[in-house]
């Protein structure tokens, strides 16, 4: 087990799409253990994606128990995750271990359903809401080379959007 170094923007690896995992072997399990340890050592400690440590594979780890207690799925290892349904939107302030010292408002779906494989390659479906859903979406963006900076909205934009639409 080891804490891996986290890449920070503008490292080009953070903006490259990751490829699907094909081999569910011991090497993958060892890497995911390191990824979990790296997540827990970080300032947020609730989520991480493989590209953040320079491995361009579609692997995400989320564990929001530190924030929500037992009112969540606990430790989720999502391999090759796919967003299959979503509902509602909410604005929240996000930061990212790969973008130190900056936070901004981002719109995310409030409820999501995600299909993914677990560490052994078995298919799983998770339903997440609120904070947990936000964390999963943020980390899944990393798999497509997207940072929350790509999704920033201004306070004015979300507050007054309806009025602008009417014109």
């Amino acid at each position: 087990m080891a804490v891996l170094p986290i890449l920070t923007y503008p490292d080009p690896l953070l903006q490259r799409p990751a490829v699907a995992v094909a081999n569910f072997d011991a090497e993958l399990r060892a890497f995911v253990d390191d990824l979990i340890e790296t997540m827990r050592a970080g300032p947020g400690g609730v989520g991480i994606a493989a590209p953040q440590v320079g491995r361009l594979q579609r692997i995400v780890v989320v564990d929001v128990r530190a924030k929500l207690g037992d009112d969540c799925h606990g430790l989720m290892v999502l391999v090759n995750p796919d967003l299959i349904a979503w509902e509602g939107v909410a604005v929240g302030r996000e930061g990212c271990m790969s973008v130190p010292d900056f936070t901004g408002n981002v719109i995310r779906a409030e409820q999501i359903r995600v299909q993914a494989q677990d560490i052994h390659g078995e298919d799983r479906v998770y339903e997440c809401a609120g904070f947990e859903a936000r964390a999963v979406q943020h980390e899944m963006d990393h798999l497509d080379g997207l940072l929350f900076l790509d999704r920033l909205v201004s306070r004015k934009t979300d507050l007054f959007r309806r009025k602008v639409y009417k014109r």
């Binding site: 970080g42 300032p43 947020g44 609730v46 989520g47 991480i48 924030k67 929240g92 302030r93 996000e94 930061g95 990212c96 271990m97 936070t103 904070f131 936000r134 964390a135 943020h138 980390e139 929350f148 306070r155 004015k156 507050l159 007054f160 009025k163």
Partner: protein, 174 residues
């Protein structure tokens, strides 16, 4: 490099930001935090800039744009202590109601009484001309906690007949 706070105000038209920032770039300045917006037919720029020589040189560099676009410019030197960004806001207060004098004054006075530090405030008049409504969003830090904010603002709901929401501003680092 020294730092200064630059304020620019002019009648709104396309090209103000481009002209000002181009002049600053040419003068060797770099732009830090900035807030720029249209307000009542005017355009206002407030930004922190770092400049290489003296402020007089910055003013001279801006002169052509100032004359062409009829801008008003103000430069305040910043001490390195004041240039600190400060901590992120932890509380958001939303206020809306029929527009009437004194809403902002009474809300902000209540907040000041518990040491609430406003990081930013945005407001807008909206609705129809006969029934204007006022919408305000305040973000800041509440050293006495969010319950104290709720408590101090609660009496204003009735007295001013406005809707007030107090929301924790959680920042998630992912």
């Amino acid at each position: 490099m020294s730092q200064a706070l630059l304020t620019v105000i002019g009648e709104d038209r396309p090209g103000i930001v481009a002209a000002v920032t181009q002049a600053l770039y040419t003068a060797g300045c770099s732009i830090g935090d900035a807030s720029m917006m249209r307000l009542g037919g005017y355009f206002a720029i407030m930004q922190v800039l770092s400049y290489p020589q003296d402020l007089g040189a910055v003013e001279m560099a801006l002169d052509a744009a100032v004359k062409r676009l009829n801008l008003r410019v103000h430069l305040d030197p910043l001490s390195s202590v004041a240039a600190d960004g400060g901590a992120a806001p932890d509380t958001r207060v939303t206020v809306f109601g029929a527009d009437r004098p004194g809403i902002v004054a009474s809300v902000t006075a209540a907040l000041a009484s518990i040491g609430f530090n406003i990081v930013d405030l945005e407001s807008e008049r909206s609705g129809s001309p006969e029934h204007p409504i006022y919408i305000m969003v305040i973000q800041g830090r509440a050293p006495a906690g969010i319950a104290a904010v709720q408590e101090v603002l609660a009496p204003l709901r009735e007295r001013e007949s406005i809707d007030i929401g107090v929301h924790p501003l959680e920042t998630v680092v992912l």
